[in-house]
Symmetry: D2
C-alpha cells in the first residue's frame, strides 16, 4: 500500500472531518493508498498540540508556508477560512503538492480561476470537498437520474436552512466566527450553504444558464470579537434565487441562517416526466422516490432506507437497516479520491468543477445587487 | 328512487355520524334507495328536540318501544349504549324492521347470539356499523390482500390507543360516560376499541383460532355521576392479547385509554411473504405499502395518498390529492348497504359477521381472567 | 332561521363543493341563516338536470342573465370559468344580489377592479371562496402568528405542486379543460394555484411589496377539444417568484402542474424569530410547529393533529383524533359568511381583499414577461 | 494515557463494530485509557490475516485458549457465536482478564449464571455489548424517564422486526449462518433480537415480573451448509409476548425475521401519565416525545433531531443537524467503559445486569412451550 503523506491546514471543524476520513478510510475500503497524518499546521500552539495529539499527527507547523514547502508531504489539505484558500493552494501547487481544499473553492471567481490555473500549470491533483455528493442517498439520486428514470427534467428545487445566527449577540470575526465576516468568508450563506446546493445541482442536472436573486442581512450590526467593536455586517444572512438550467428545467434555491427549527436542513427535489426524487440532510440515509410507472393502486413515494449492499457505498459498512451518518460522506470522498489517484485520474470534484459553482455564486450575488437576471 | 324511512335511536355522537351519512349519501352516490329521516327517539326531550331540528328528523319519540312499533319506519338504527342493543334489536326484528346497530353488536356472546337469531328468524336485513372497513385506505388494504399481493401472511398487528381517561377525575356512569360503566358497556377497551381491530382483522385475514390476553384497570375507583358516589371501576382500561389465525399467521393486539399522545390511534400492519401493508387512523387517507418485487435500488415503503379515482370510493368525491375524513366511512357504509338492499342481499357486516368479533372479545376477556390460552 | 336563497352558476367541481357546503352547514353550525338551494344554472340541459337532482336544487336556468334577474334569489354564487366572473358578478350586483365567486376573483386586475366597484356601488355583500383560509390547521397558523408566537418574521415560502398536465395528450379548451386555455382562464398556474398561496400569505403575513418571477410553458402545443385543432399553449405551466413583504420578510413561491408525484401539494412555511410553522394540503389536518422556547433537550417540531375542540372549527365536528377533509373548508367558509351577514358585516375575503391577490398575480406575470422586479 | 491491550475473538460483523469503536474512541473522547489492538483470534487463517491487516491488529492467534492465556492482553472481547461465550469468558476470567462479550450473555440462564460467577470470583471487569443503550436518542429517553417527565408509566411496547430469513433457501449452519442453528445460537429471535428489547426495557422501566409468550417457526426445514443436509429448524423465527413490569405497567414485545419491509426495525414506545416517548432504529438519531403539559393549541409529538450538544454524547461529534449512525453506539459504550474503569467501577451493563435479560428470554421460551404465564 502506498503512503500518502497529508499536510493538514487548520484544526477546526472541517479539519476534524477530514482527519477522521483519513483515519478510517482504509478500515472500510480496499485501496492502493493509505493516508499518513504527517503534519498539521495552525497558528495557536495550544490548540495545535491538542489537535495533533487527538488525531495522531506526527508533527506540527505554525506557518503554512513552511508546511507547503516540506519535502515529506504529498497532499496539502486546506481547512482554513476562505480568504486563505487561494494563496495556500497556489503556493502548494507551485511546490508540487497535490491540493485538496474545503469548499467553497474561493471567495469569488477571480481567486478561483487563479487556483485552477495554478494546479493545472503545476500538473498536480486537486479536489474540493463538496462532501454531500458522497452521501449514499445523494449518489443514488445521481445514479437514478443518469439511468434516465426521471425522463425529461422539469423542476429542481433546493434549500439549505439553518437557524444559528438569529441572536443579535452572535459575533462576527474572532474566535472561529469568520463565517460572518465578509472580508474573510467572501459572502454569507451564498458561498457557505448555497455552494453545496449548486454543486449538487450542477452535478446531477447540468449547467445553470441564468439566475435572478435577492439577499438580505437581517441583523445589520454585530460585535467583532477581534476588534471588540460593533461593526456593520457585510454578509448575506439569507439568499434566494430563481434559475434556469441548460436542459430546460426551472429551479428555485434558497438559503438562510434564520429559519427557526432547521439546524442544517439541506434538501433538494427533482421532478421529471416519469419520476421524482427528494432528499434532505436531516435524514440523510433516506431517499424519497416517486415512480409514475408503479401500478396506480399502490403508487406513492417510496421511502427508501439507503442501507442495502447494492446501494452506493453501503456494501462497505454494516448490514441493511443500520444507518451511517454525516462524517461518512468524507470517508467516501477520500476513498474515491484515492481510487482516482491509483488510476492516474484527478479526483472529483476538481478545482475546475468547483469553479462552476463559484461562478454561479458570483452571478447570484451580482443579481441580488443589481436586481437583474444574470446569464452564465 | 325508493324511500327508506329511518327510525334513529339515540342523539349522541354515533347518532350524528349516522344521520350525517343518511343526509349526504345520495349527493355522492347514485343509489336505488334514499333514506328519509322519519323519526328520532331519546329520553331527554330538550336534547331530542335540538337533535331533530339540527338534522331534520320529521318526528320524535321518547319511548323506543313506540318507535319500533311505528308503521312508517323501515329501518331501526340503534345508537344507544351497548346494554340496549339486544332488547331493541330483538323487538325491532320482531316488528319486521330492518335493524342497523352501532358496534359492538352486544355486550357479550349470549346477547349477540340472540340478536342474530332474532333477525334471521324475522328475515330482516341487519348490519353492524363497523365503519372502518369503509375507510378507502382500509378497503384498499383488503383488496390488495385479496389479490394475493402479500402472499402467505406471517404477521398481523393492531392497536387502538387513546388517552382520554388518564385523569382520575373522569367519571363513570351518567352524562354520557356509560363507556366506563361495565354494566352498561359490557367491557372497557375490549368491546369499544379492540372490537374494531378484531373486525378488520377477521375481515382481511380470516378467523382467529386462539388468544391469550391480559387486562388492567389502572384507576380502581371513579365517581358515578348518576349515583354521586365513588365506585369500583369494572371495565378494562387496557387490554393486550396474542393470537393465532387459521391461516397460520401470528398476531398481537393492544388497546388502552392510557397512551398519552394518542387521541384515537387505530393502527394495523400485515406482513406477508411478498409485501406488507400498514395503516393508521390518524392519517386515514394514507396507506403504507412495501413490495419486495420493487427493484432493489428503489425499494421502500410506498406512501400512498389514497385519493385517486381508481382507489375505493374515491371516484365519488373530489379530485386526486384532496382528502376525505372520518365521517365518510359511514357514508360509504350507508351506500354499500343500500346497494346490497337493492340487490336483495344483506348488508355487511351482518349481525352474524359481527358475532365472530364478539366471540373473540369474550375469549380475550376470559383469557385475561384465567391466565390461560382460549381456543375459538 | 332566515332563509338565504342560493342561485348557483355552474355544475362543475366547484359547484359541487359549494352545494355540499350549503347542504351541510346547518347540521354542524348554529346559525341565523339557512341556505336554500333555489336554482342552478348551466348551458347543458342534461348535465344541469342531473346536477339539480343530485343536490336538490328546486329549479334550473340555462341563461345566467335570467338567474341573475330572478326575484327569488338572494345570493349569486359563481362557479364558472374565470372569464365569466366579471360580467356575471357585475350584473348580479346591479340586480342587488349578494355575490359569492370562486377564486380567482377575475382574470386580471382590470376586471377585478370593476367587480369591486360594482359590488361596492350596489352595496351588496360579496365574497371570494379562498377556502384554504378555513382549513383548521391554516386558521390555527394564522392565530399563532397573530398571537405573536413567531416574533419577527424572516421567511415565508409556499408552493402548489401538481402533476396532471404532464401528458402532451391533455387537451386545452373544451370539455371542462378551460384551465389550460389562456383566453378563458387568464393565466395558468399563477391564477389557479399561486392565487391560493398569495391569498394565504397576505392574510397571514401582510402585503407583498415586490416580486421577480419566471414562467415556463413546457408543452408548447395542445389540441383544443372545442375547435379540434392543435393550438399554441398560452398559459404558464409553471411559475416561480421571489418576493418581499412589507414586514421585511423574504419569500419564495412556486407552482407547477409538472411536479410528478404531487397531486395537489399546497404547502407553506413561516420562519419567525421565536417559532416556525409549516403546513401542507396532503395532510391538511396536521400543523407542524417549532418553538425555540421549548426546553432544549426535548425541542423539536410539534406534529399537531388539529382535531381538538379548542382548535379552530373542530368543536363542531367529531372527537379528538378523527380528521376532517378538504370539503370542510367550504362548510367553514359558508358558516363564517352567514355569521358575518347576521352581524351586518361583509364576509371575508371580500372582493376588495381578493383584488390584492390578483394584483400580485399580475405583477408576477409582468415580471416574468419583462425579467424585471415589479413593485406593488 | 494508559494502554488497554485488546484481545479480540472473532472476525465477523461484531468484531468489526468493536474494532471500529476501539480505533475511534480516543479521537472523539478524552479518556484515561487508550485501547491497543494487540491480537485477534479466529480459526480461518486467510480471514484472520485479512481482518488483522484491515484493522491493524498487531498479532493473530488461531486458538482462543492461547489468546486467553497471553500475558500481553488486558481485555478479552468475545465476538463469537453464542455457544462459545461461556467457555471463553470463564477461561478469560480465570486467567485474570477483563471480559467484554457481545450480547446475549449466553444461550440460557445456566451458562449465563456460571459466567457471572466466574468474573465475580476472579474480580475482573466485565461488560456485555448491549450497544443500543448508547444510541443518543435512547440514552436521552432514559434520562427523560429518570427525570420523572413521564410520571407513572402505564405502557411499554417494543418490537424488533427483520425480513432476511423469509426465503426458504436461506441456510442454517455453516458460513456465518449460525444464528439459525439452535445448538449454536440457543434460540432464534428471542436471544438475538428480543434480548435487545428486553435489555433496554429493564434499563429504562425496571424489572419484568411475568410473561406469556408464543413462538413460531415458519420454515420448518433448511439446508445446513456444514453438513450439506436438509435439517429441521430448531429456532424461533418469530416470538411475541405480553409482560408485566414491577412498576405496574403492561408491555407487549414482538420480534420476527418475517416482517417484509423491515430491515432492522427496533422500536419502543413508553406511555406515561404526563408524557410519552417513542424511538426506532431506522431513524436512530430522532426521538419522538409528547408532553401533555404543552399548551393545548400546539400540543403534538415533538420530533427531536438528537444532534445538539446538550443531548447525550453529541458534544463529542459534529454540529447540530448532522447525524451520526449505528456504529457510534459502540464508540460510546467503549468510552463509557473506559471512564468506568478509570474510576475503578465496572462498566455497564455488567454480566450480572445482562443475566436479567437472559432470565426473561428463558421465561419467554418456557411460556411459549407450555402456554402458561411464567413469573420471574
Amino acid at each position: 500500500m502506498k503512503k500518502l503523506r497529508i499536510g493538514m491546514l487548520g484544526t477546526g471543524f472541517m479539519a476534524r472531518t477530514h482527519s477522521n476520513a483519513y483515519r478510517r478510510v482504509n478500515n472500510f475500503f480496499n485501496l492502493a493508498y493509505e493516508p499518513e497524518l504527517t503534519a498539521v499546521c495552525a497558528r495557536n500552539p495550544a490548540t495545535l498540540k491538542a489537535f495533533a495529539d487527538q488525531w495522531g499527527y506526527a508533527s506540527t507547523e505554525t506557518d503554512w508556508r513552511k508546511l507547503v514547502e516540506r519535502d515529506d508531504i504529498d497532499v496539502i489539505d486546506i481547512c482554513l477560512p476562505n480568504n486563505l484558500h487561494a494563496p495556500v493552494a497556489c503556493a502548494a501547487a507551485a511546490a508540487g503538492k497535490m491540493v485538496f481544499t474545503e469548499k467553497p473553492l474561493a471567495r469569488e471567481t477571480g481567486e478561483a480561476t487563479a487556483m485552477c490555473e495554478a494546479v493545472e500549470k503545476a500538473g498536480v491533483a486537486n479536489m474540493v470537498w463538496y462532501n454531500y455528493r458522497r452521501v449514499p442517498a445523494v449518489t443514488l439520486a445521481k445514479q437514478l437520474v443518469d439511468e434516465g428514470r426521471l425522463g425529461r427534467i422539469f423542476h429542481y428545487r433546493a434549500n439549505f436552512l439553518q437557524d444559528w445566527t438569529i441572536s443579535p449577540d452572535c459575533p462576527q470575526g474572532g474566535n472561529g466566527t469568520w463565517r460572518l465576516d465578509v472580508a474573510t468568508a467572501g459572502s454569507g450563506v451564498t458561498g457557505d450553504l448555497l455552494a453545496h446546493c449548486i454543486d449538487t445541482a450542477i452535478w446531477i442536472n447540468g449547467p445553470i444558464t441564468a439566475v435572478t436573486a435577492m439577499t438580505e442581512t437581517f441583523i445589520k450590526e454585530r460585535k467583532n470579537l477581534d476588534t471588540g467593536t460593533v461593526e456593520k455586517v457585510g454578509i448575506d444572512d439569507a439568499c434566494a434565487f430563481l434559475a434556469r438550467f441548460k436542459n430546460g428545467s426551472l429551479a428555485i434555491f434558497e438559503s438562510t441562517r434564520y429559519a427557526r427549527g432547521h439546524k442544517a436542513l439541506y434538501t433538494f427535489e427533482i421532478n421529471g416526466e416519469n419520476a421524482s426524487i427528494a432528499w434532505d440532510l436531516h435524514d440523510l440515509h433516506r431517499l424519497q422516490y416517486f415512480d409514475h410507472d408503479d401500478n396506480s393502486l399502490i403508487r406513492g413515494w417510496h421511502n427508501i432506507h439507503v442501507t442495502d449492499g447494492d446501494q452506493p457505498y453501503m456494501d462497505k459498512w454494516w448490514v441493511p437497516g443500520l444507518q451511517i451518518g454525516y462524517e461518512h460522506s468524507f470517508v467516501h470522498q477520500a476513498a474515491d479520491a484515492f481510487e482516482a489517484l491509483a488510476k492516474g485520474e484527478n479526483p472529483t470534484p476538481s478545482f475546475r468543477d468547483a469553479l462552476e459553482t463559484t461562478k454561479v455564486c458570483d452571478a447570484v450575488l451580482k443579481s441580488a445587487a443589481t436586481g437583474q437576471w444574470v446569464n452564465l
